[in-house]
């Protein structure tokens, strides 16, 4: 890429939009994952008894449910990301590539 190419891509409105959307999606999901996981870790460290409570009177605890949920939510978040990236970001990216390859 020549300096002129770089300049024109950076000023391209579609590229700007792609960067904005991509970064918003990436960082909001990253933040969500960090909050969920470290929230869980801190709960384990500071209040294990909360996780040790019985879920509905039986032996199964709240913590067991939370553990399973962390697994499912992790997978769910990757699903959301892939869905958004395939359906929203990729078309925009293709547009940028086409217009800037000219």
């Amino acid at each position: 890429m020549t300096p002129e190419d770089i300049d024109s891509i950076c000023k391209h409105p579609d590229f700007k939009q792609l960067v904005r959307r991509k970064q918003r999606l990436n960082w909001s999901l990253t933040l969500a994952m960090l909050v969920i996981y470290y929230g869980f870790v801190l709960l384990v460290a500071f209040s294990p008894s909360t996780l040790g409570q019985s879920l509905s009177g039986g032996v199964t605890t709240v913590g067991m449910l939370v553990g399973v949920l962390v697994v499912l939510v992790s997978f769910g978040l990757t699903g959301i990301y892939v869905y958004r990236a395939n359906n929203v970001l990729d078309p925009l990216n293709d547009k940028v590539r086409q217009e800037c390859a000219k």
Partner: protein, 520 residues
Amino acid sequence: MNWTAISMFLLFVVFTLGITRWAAQRTRSASDFYTAGGGLTGFQNGLAIAGDMISAASFLGISAMMFLNGYDGLLYALGVLAGWPIILFLIAERLRNLGKYTFADVVSYRLDQTPVRLTSALGTLTVALMYLVAQMVGAGKLIELLFGISYLYAVMLVGVLMVFYVTFGGMLATTWVQIIKAVLLLSGTSFMAFMVLKHFGFSTEAMFSAATEVHAKGTAIMAPGGLLSNPIDAISLGLGMMFGTAGLPHILMRFFTVSDAKQARKSVFYATGFIGYFYLLLIMVGFGAIVMVGTDASYRDVNGAIIGGGNMIAVHLAQAVGGNLFLGFISAVAFATILAVVAGLALSGASAVSHDLYACVIRKGQATEKQEMRVSRIATLAIGVLAIILGLMFESQNIAFLSGLVLAIAASVNFPVLFLSMYWKGLTTRGAVIGSMSGLVSAIVLLVLSPAVWVNVLHNETALFPYSNPALFSMSLAFLGAWVFSVTDTSERAAQERGRYLAQFIRSMTGIGAAGASKH
């Protein structure tokens, strides 16, 4: 001698050697060797990544931890899993868009090749060799137990097969061995979990209540115990597991085996699904074993200890639910698991030597593909020999701490600099080199001073570093070192490096100019 296990394992070996032969005919260029020509699909790569993560250590180790402590075993599983969404959101696509064969391609993209490649290669080799030794020793012990062959032969067998897969079949064979093993392990574990649930009338509540009744710790196994009672340790362990995965060279290399960023993205989605599913199955395996193995006297020796040690829990459960035939199957799969993981490690170590050190540093990019591939094969052989020697040297050493703590080292030496090179314009060569080195040195020093080594291995009274995991401190030092020595770098070279960030940013975002799949 366990003949069912041995014959099933031989079947696996013959089959995978057949695949290696097939792959060898398709491995002609350097791109074929390092990245299977970049032609794998997201689904295949996802399975291979999952295969790398669900190693023998996690299958046998986590189920053993659940058997002993219940809930605490789950904490380890969650740490490894939670790293994957982060890898997807922050690393996977940019890595694919910027790199070609190794993650050093990405770090050195706009920096000075020689110093950055040297440090990245050092980081790769340290992590790969330590992990390799841990796997070799674990493998030798396990095979000795399962198959009744001596430790020496077991280690040599693993080393020789590993070198065979990698030198002849390159990444294509390594990946397919990993995929086949992942499918075998996932199906075997699914069957075990299903049989456990069937035993308890498909009620997890019945399983948990039976487990708490017979376990010495009673209902305490259903809640976090003492494992992470110290918040600093808990966060440090969490950071190490989460970002350590993102610093493992053999995992990062897998992102170059797919055709583009879209496939890289899909591979993480599938990988996260498979890894998560596997860990959920392990809950059944671990808690089921508390009842089905723990209460059965035939799995205990005269002193009441589990035959073969705690790590054999999953293997005993296989016999309890599926008889000797299934026991043979799971033993063979455990062996296959080790083989597949060490092959990936050897390949990543060899690529650091041949691509980063030989082709880029020594020959300054002037080496032909033929020369580069020859060096990579020699490097694989050397790594194989070294792994066997180290495996024999450390036979009677307590190195259980190694495999877990490799993650802490990877999180400190590779991840911070890789992340900064992609996200921070200000990173310079000086910052990258000092950042990596301070991460590596501090992680190793803190490890040596920690209770696991200073007290348990070196037999000192008290640990000089009170926490069992160094990642929180060593990662911070790596980031700090990279930052301080970048912002104070006023050289002409540093200014040029910052100036090249914009072009790198555009490529990492859009994939314009990214290396594609080779056509044939």
